[in-house]
């Protein structure tokens, strides 16, 4: 057990070293920071549309919908941006963490080591999940800062706690449904098909929602959980129950097992 733990700790440190130097880390931070600032910009406009019009932030005739500029609304907007952007950005993190070994051809070096391939896969998945959740925390901290600067009304400890809980919950669910994209990148030994997969599930999610079965399509669950699906469609989303959450967990577990088995047993040519 001790050996396994040591192996995993080593593999995790290796993944940390790899991402610390990568441009991808900074790109994902930038992407989420931009999303948060867009949310802040909306609040700024909503708070005083006349001032925004004067500053040229919106057109003279633009009608601004979306409620009032307050903390609950700001968080609702962030849930929407995080659940849509999260699928793309977290998906890309999983794709990059696995796919880079193939694009850089460094996977050869990982195949005959005292650290097992399954440990390496586990470390990669943990790192991608940790990275994703760290981005969620970044969004939360930036949101707090922006909200304070904008002096948004309606803030309270319970509103902030609710915002953090829902952000973390949305992030965790999104991270789990992104694990399969790491497998696709491994299986195809490339980024592109896996990135295509991310957009495919987004399109499928829209279609399946339209026919009323969104709650059974795992890649829709984070959006429905955060309330973003309802905000986007304007319709009342069906409630999420045990089956919906179980499907998310099932997708994650199957993806972890399949990725581990593939790395361990498939021919690495």
């Amino acid at each position: 057990m001790n050996i396994i733990t040591n192996e995993l700790v080593s593999a995790l440190r290796v993944e940390y070293l790899k991402i610390r130097r990568s441009k991808t880390l900074w790109l994902t931070i930038l992407a989420f920071a931009v999303l948060t600032f867009i949310g802040g910009l909306f609040m700024f406009i909503l708070k005083d549309p006349a001032r925004a019009r004067q500053l040229g932030l919106i057109g003279a005739k633009a009608q601004i919908f979306g409620g009032t500029a307050d903390w609950p609304n700001f968080f609702n907007l962030m849930f929407l941006l995080v659940s849509v952007g999260g699928l793309i950005i977290f998906g890309f993190i999983f794709v990059w963490i696995f796919g880079r070994e193939y694009s850089d051809k460094t996977y050869y070096d990982m195949l005959a080591l005292p650290t097992s391939r399954v440990t390496i896969v586990t470390a990669k998945i943990i790192t991608a999940a940790y990275w994703s959740m760290a981005l969620i925390l970044l969004v939360f901290v930036l949101s707090l800062g922006i909200g304070l600067v904008l002096q948004l009304p309606g803030g309270s400890a319970s509103v902030i706690r609710h915002g953090l809980t829902l952000l973390l919950g949305t992030g965790a669910l999104t991270a789990v449904i992104c694990i399969p994209f790491g497998f696709v990148a491994s299986f195809t030994r490339s980024y592109l098909p896996a990135v295509g997969g991310i957009f495919l599930v987004m399109v499928l999610g829209q279609i399946i929602s339209q026919i009323g079965y969104g709650q059974y399509f795992p890649w829709n669950i984070p959006m429905m959980y955060s309330g973003a699906a309802q905000a986007l469609s304007g319709k009342t989303a069906p409630p999420l129950g045990f089956v919906s959450y179980s499907l998310v967990i099932l997708v994650g577990v199957i993806a972890i097992v399949v990725t581990g088995v593939w790395w361990r047993y498939a021919d690495q040519t």
Binding site: A11, V14, K18, S22, D104, Y108, D109, A112, L113, T269
Partner: protein
């Protein structure tokens, strides 16, 4: 673990769909040997190395390294093995030092100094903080070897390690490998398509062709194979052959007008052959003493001509 064999492969076969890449290949490589694995491009060298390293599963046959069968779950065996498959690749955003640090950790090496030692040993100190992505091919190759050697393996498997190196780099790698074998007793399995390079290094050579091991020979046998021969161009071939046969010299015809003599006495005294032929009224138009090079020997051995496609597509 008491076996004297570093590599024991029996009946290795690998089929990719319709392509039979390796067929019933067996190897027994003793500890301390430098084994040259020679073959043309597409002969099955890389596929064999990958099977030895457990990267691909044989369709039939098995591999043991130091008596331990290569299969998923037997990861401890890799503590004794270092390898470099094809052109070495490294994480381009990371420095040379960081790339080695990754392998120190993945190889579970406690000694943090092993990275610096390897940087020094491989002459990488001036480039230690340089990103691997901007290294020259020679230095990338050194980094690849450093990754393979960082844990002081007992067995080193190298796939075409001289690929892309300039002559100075080739000599450097050769000397390093010789030193590892002679001073540290490291068993080295090295694949190449350049016989002359392998001949300078290996104690034993296996020739693979169309996925099969067609010949194994020792360094001494290989030296013998570097035959000298006498080429005699002559107009009246039949008459000349009769004269030589009468004198007890065997000559074989090569091309239209050339006789080839490989007997040692003829090699030592080519002037006697010339005199014999002149006196018999069939003077040679050209007489050349030639040392058969290893490449020619190799091509003869695998029975192929340059430029042919060597991939084995046998069903």
């Amino acid at each position: 673990m008491g076996t004297s064999l570093a590599i024991e492969a029996s009946g290795l076969t690998k089929r990719f769909g319709d392509v039979l890449a390796v067929k019933d290949l067996s190897l027994n490589i003793r500890r301390g040997e430098i084994y040259g694995f020679l073959g043309l491009n597409g002969a099955g060298k890389t596929t064999t190395i990958r099977m030895l390293l457990g990267m691909i599963r044989p369709s039939a046959g098995a591999v043991s390294l130091f008596g331990t069968k290569v299969q998923p779950g037997h990861g401890r065996i890799w503590q004794q093995v270092g390898y470099m498959v094809e052109t070495p690749h490294a994480y381009p955003d990371l420095t040379v030092r960081e790339n080695l640090e990754i392998f120190r950790r993945l190889r579970q090496l406690k000694d943090a100094g092993s990275v610096e030692n390897m940087i020094g040993q491989m002459g990488l100190a001036p480039y230690a903080n340089r990103r691997a992505g901007i290294l020259s091919l020679g230095n990338a190759q050194r980094l690849g070897l450093a990754k393979a050697l960082i844990h002081h393996p007992d067995l080193l498997l190298l796939d075409e390690p001289a690929n892309g190196l300039d002559p100075a780099g080739i000599v450097e790698v050769r000397n390093l490998l010789l030193s590892l074998a002679q001073n540290d007793g490291v068993t080295i399995f090295i694949s190449s398509h350049i016989l002359s390079e392998v001949a300078r290094l290996a104690t034993r050579i296996g020739v693979v062709h169309h996925g099969q091991l067609v010949k194994e020979l020792t360094a001494a046998e290989l030296a013998e194979a570097e035959q000298q021969r006498l080429l005699v161009d002559i107009r009246d071939i039949a008459a000349a052959q009769a004269v030589l046969t009468k004198a007890g010299i065997t000559a074989r015809l090569e091309g239209k007008n050339t006789l080839v003599i490989t007997e040692k006495s003829a090699m030592q005294h080519p002037e006697k052959i010339a005199t014999l032929l002149v006196e018999a009224g069939c003077p040679p138009s050209r007489l050349v003493s030639e040392k058969k090079d290893l490449e020619t020997y190799f091509l003869e051995l695998v029975g192929t001509k340059e430029g042919t496609n060597n991939e084995y597509n046998n069903k």
